[in-house]
């Protein structure tokens, strides 16, 4: 099993064989892990064995939880809203019962929690950005769990962490009760208990004069304990992640675990978004080659960019063509219309050249020719946002990929302005998102702004469910939603969709919201 902590050569939970004669051949045995508390500081790496599938499965479950947590943060949800939102998610993916529950699964749940944390720790230690995000999310998760924990158990957990503070004795309390109350701003319904610690451990409290100071000792109210615990956890995790990063190259698991870890860290960039065929609008209206120009107003920025490039130069390079063709297929453009579209767009090219150089590719993308037999007839799936964000970035002369990632902020803003987005706060927001590398958030922000009125209407009248308004994670989903929103009046509920139901949500979000 992988143990990536340094210092203790002999891990604290390892049962060493003392007899020198037997030691050479002894099998490594570790003490069985115990989980006395629901919460965990994850100080000791797991030492038991688990199956490879469990390794991946548990990690993915945790990833889903963290992803949800992150999206709550993006939407600036209040702690109460977050808590509410996360409850079902946590119950489904990472149930953690308290000590009081009778379930026999308690230890198993905690084991899953423990192992999945350490797995993800490995997966997200490679770059500083990932480390920071992981640390932040795990801290949030701990905060969430602490809040929902029973007070007694929480107290027991905190006490178990040796954090070098001691509770005030009764006499000390009596002597300085007034000063304690004044210094720590005691509210009427708060309990009167404080603890003391060296002031260097709580500089933020000292700075704000939120604790009593006597000869270098700070007297802190117990409510600050939680904050201190959380801060300490965060600090330790960050150190641990850096250690893990340093040890990562030493891992010799290239064909077993590295692909899994790699895949895990990839899905952190943009949550997994599948593509569902129902994002075509072929049922509502049949798009034709001529209609593309008009429909382009509903395109996400990546596709609009490609379209304009195409119109400007009457040409697109390979990856751009591929991306765009697949997108158009996703919209519902038939092969014939698509060929017509490209022929017309590539007007500077002679017929023969077009036939020899470009025609085959379009047909290939649609699955008309070539490809492996599994996919024939259907062709390749249109690229999701995640794919666009992780494939190699475009170089000179190419315009594929996600412009929020490719362009530097200034050029991005001017591009946005040229497609008609000019609201200053919006542009500011986009800039921030891009700065934090939240490209899909930026795109969604633009979407929300462009369709503000329609979204409001749909929300107010309850025409669409919440899942249908969740994050857009696929260019085709963006298009479909935009088209539907802008044509609300012309489309009657109930007569769309392959399966007859109107609830055609964007691919990725739908997957998550199944429950």
């Amino acid at each position: 099993m992988l143990a990536v902590t340094s210092a203790p050569r002999i891990a604290s939970n390892k049962r060493t064989v003392v007899d020198a004669r037997r030691q050479q051949f002894a099998k490594t045995r570790h003490a069985p892990e115990e989980y006395p508390h629901r919460l965990n500081f994850y100080l000791v790496p797991p030492a038991g064995d688990i199956a490879l599938e469990q390794f991946e499965e548990w990690a993915i479950a945790r990833l889903k939880v963290l992803g949800e947590l992150e999206s709550c943060q993006f939407r600036n949800k209040t702690p109460a809203e977050t808590d509410e939102h996360m409850k079902p998610v946590l119950d489904k993916y990472m149930r953690l019962s308290s000590n009081a529950s009778r379930s026999g699964e308690v230890q198993d749940e905690r084991k899953r929690d423990h192992y999945s944390h350490w797995t993800l720790r490995l997966a997200f230690s490679s770059t500083p950005d990932l480390r920071q995000r992981f640390a932040r999310l795990e801290t949030q998760l701990l905060k969430l769990r602490m809040a929902s924990d029973d007070a007694r158990e929480r107290r027991a957990f905190i006490d178990s962490l040796s954090m070098s503070w001691e509770t005030l004795s009764e006499e000390e309390k009596i002597t300085w009760l007034d000063q304690l109350k004044a210094a720590t701003n005691l509210k009427r319904d708060e309990e009167e208990s404080w603890f003391k610690v060296a002031w260097e451990k709580v500089p933020e409290l000292v700075e704000r004069r939120q604790c009593l100071l006597k000869r270098g000792v700070a007297y802190v109210h117990v409510r600050e304990q939680q904050t201190m615990v959380i801060n300490e956890f965060s600090r330790q995790l960050e150190t641990g992640l850096e250690l893990a990063a340093r040890n990562l190259p030493r891992m010799d698991e290239d064909n077993r675990l590295s692909p899994i870890l790699h895949h895990l860290s990839q899905s952190f960039v943009a949550p997994d978004a599948g593509y569902s065929e129902s994002s075509s609008i072929g049922d509502i209206t049949t798009p034709t080659a001529a209609a593309i120009d008009g429909l382009s107003q509903h395109f996400p920025l990546c596709m609009q960019n490609l379209h304009r490039e195409l119109r400007k130069n009457s040409h697109l390079k390979h990856f751009g063509r591929l991306q765009y063709t697949l997108f158009l297929k996703g919209i519902g453009l038939s092969l014939q219309e698509c060929i017509l579209f490209w022929r017309k767009s590539f007007k500077l090219i002679a017929d023969d050249k077009f036939k020899s150089d470009y025609l085959y590719n379009i047909r290939h993308a649609y699955g008309d020719v070539g490809g492996d037999s599994n996919r024939r007839g259907r062709g390749y799936t249109p690229y999701s946002c995640q794919k666009l964000l992780t494939e190699p970035a475009p170089s000179a002369g190419q315009t594929h990929g996600c412009p929020y990632r490719t362009y530097n902020p200034d050029n991005l803003l001017s591009l946005l302005q040229s497609v008609g987005v000019s609201d200053r706060t919006l542009l500011q927001g986009v800039k921030e998102d891009v700065g934090k590398q939240r490209y899909h958030i930026a795109c969604n922000r633009v979407f929300d702004y462009a369709h503000k009125a329609q979204i409001k209407k749909v929300k107010d009248e309850g025409l669409w469910s919440a899942s249908e308004l969740d994050l857009v994670l696929h260019p085709n989903a963006y298009f479909k939603r935009s088209f539907l929103l802008k044509n609300l009046g012309k489309v009657k509920a109930g007569d769309l969709g392959v399966d007859g139901a109107f609830g055609v949500s964007s691919g990725g979000a739908g997957e998550k919201m199944e429950e």
């Binding site: 962490l161 040796s162 000063q179 500089p203 006597k214 000869r215 330790q236």
Partner: protein, 509 residues
């Protein structure tokens, strides 16, 4: 040689001279020329003992007013240059400074204070010093292996003043020799505070700009008292050295080990603990949080009497009607302020004392409903704090690598030596009676003169020059302070050596 004018002439000069600091470069040349003149004429004096030979330079300086000059031939030659040069930069003359460093500056105690031990350690050897030379040049990253080498360089370079910086990981002079830039960084420095009168300009009425008097010095006294109490009682620091900054403020140097090892973020937290902002920038005052933190409460109690005597009576900040406006702006209730305005308009010339009492009187009489008595009291407390609470230059305290002027250097503008302030006797410290360098040099002469015949040669030689002057008291205080510090340090070191054997058990988070 610049002329050391008598103390009585110095005071009025100070106000004018202070803005002319930049003139300094031109003058030393003259001084050098003159001093050479003097020295050339020295042999003709025919002085008897060696000591007196050295003094003759000074005597010639004192030509203008002193009557005890043995030789008179140089008078005429010196008179002419005298008139042309500005008298201010005299304190930064290399000659005077050299004398000062040779005879008066307490290098050994300073070394021990920074070294925390009698024998040289990295604490001192890797310490940065920055020299400000008479020409205005600023030389950083100086370091010295011992007190003697330090002294030698000072005598040679005669800095106008020098500043003390942190101890670095390696000798600052070798800073370019390291591979990684991060291998050269500050490790340890005393915690310092700076209280400057300029921060009080908005509320002092007796003086302006660089000038100070005994009345406004009280602000510094108040500040020292409050900060000192907080440092000792709240943080438990014991080795706190308060030093006069030379003109109009005070510095604090805290040498406790715990304080020296604080990093930038802790220094910032501590500094912000002491700072009290009244939230005036956006116009709307944010009152101080109630209930008052014990530190603020204690400070208020300390400052109450000062408010009565020094602010209300001496400073009288709300005398004129426009000044009184400021007071009215600090009161949040418009009915009250309107009533007070009316009263004061009808009775001009009410003193601040009376106006202060008026606030309560009018509030009570008018039965103003918007302001409860408790809230009014809190507002008054806020005003009292605004006018008395220490105003620190927090930036000085926040960074480990900040350089601060050393104790015992000469302030170039006033010539006063930056002497330590005895906090046990804070009230009696008078900045205007702090000796200037030229006075001190004169005192050496005078002592020697008066003791020429009375005491035997050997005993006379044993008496150090600084002991012959008023600097004696200050140096002795400093030495005592350093001795206490060293005792604690050596005790701590012995304790630590014992600990090493036991080993560290608890995993401290």
């Amino acid at each position: 040689m610049p002329h050391a004018t008598s103390p009585s002439l110095e005071a009025p000069d100070n106000d004018v001279e202070d803005s002319h600091m930049t003139d300094a470069p031109a003058v030393p040349l003259n001084n050098a020329a003159e001093s050479q003149e003097d020295e050339a004429e020295l042999p003709t004096n025919g002085s008897t003992t060696n000591i007196e030979n050295m003094f003759d330079d000074d005597d010639e300086d004192d030509d203008e007013f002193s009557s005890s000059v043995p030789t008179k031939t140089e008078d005429s030659s010196q008179d002419l240059p005298q008139q042309h040069q500005p008298s201010k930069p005299k304190y930064s003359s290399p000659d005077i400074l050299r004398q000062f460093y040779q005879r008066l500056f307490p290098f050994r105690p300073l070394f021990q204070w920074l070294n925390h031990s009698p024998t040289p350690q990295p604490d001192f050897q890797n310490r940065e010093f920055a020299f400000v030379l008479p020409g205005g040049a600023y030389i950083r990253y100086q370091s010295f292996a011992s007190a003697d080498l330090f002294r030698k360089q000072c005598v040679q370079m005669t800095p106008e003043r020098f500043e003390i910086g942190p101890q670095y990981t390696i000798n600052p002079r070798d800073r370019k020799q390291v591979r990684k830039a991060s291998a050269f960084r500050p490790v340890m420095k005393e915690l310092v505070f700076d209280i400057d009168m300029t921060d009080y300009d908005p509320i002092r009425t007796c003086c302006e700009g660089a000038a100070i008097c005994n009345k406004c010095w009280q602000f510094i006294t108040m500040a020292v008292k409050v900060v000192d109490a907080a440092l000792r009682e709240d943080f438990g620091f014991q080795h706190i050295l308060w030093v006069y900054s030379g003109r109009r403020g005070a510095h604090a140097w805290i040498s406790d080990k715990r304080a020296r090892e604080m990093d930038d973020s802790k220094r910032r937290s501590l500094a912000n603990y002491l700072v009290l902002t009244m939230g005036n920038e956006q116009g709307k005052r944010a009152g101080i949080r109630r209930p008052l933190h014990p530190h603020i409460d204690r400070s208020l109690k300390i400052l109450n009497s000062y408010f009565q005597t020094d602010v209300l009576a001496d400073q009288d900040p709300w005398q004129s009607s426009e000044q009184a406006e400021k007071l009215l702006q600090l009161l949040p209730d418009t009915k009250l302020t309107a009533a007070l305005q009316k009263k004061w308009d009808s009775m001009p010339g009410r003193s601040s004392n009376q106006k202060w009492a008026d606030i309560d009187a009018v509030a009570e009489a008018g039965n103003l409903s918007t302001l409860e008595p408790k809230k009014l009291m809190e507002v008054k407390q806020d005003i009292r704090l605004e006018y008395t609470y220490p105003r620190l230059d927090a930036e000085v305290s926040k960074k480990l690598n900040h350089l601060l002027k050393s104790p015992f250097v000469v302030h170039p503008g006033t010539g006063r030596v930056c002497v330590p302030i005895d906090v046990r006797d804070l009230e009696s410290f008078d900045p205007l009676t702090v000796p200037t360098v030229t006075e001190l040099l004169k005192e050496i002469d005078e002592w020697d003169e008066s003791h020429k015949g009375s005491v035997r040669e050997e005993e006379r030689v044993k008496v150090q020059d600084w002991q012959k002057t008023r600097l004696k008291g200050y140096v002795e205080y400093f030495r005592g302070y350093v001795a206490t510090l060293l005792k604690e340090e050596s005790r701590g070191k012995r304790g630590r050596e014992e600990d090493v054997g036991v080993g560290a058990e608890e995993m401290e988070f």
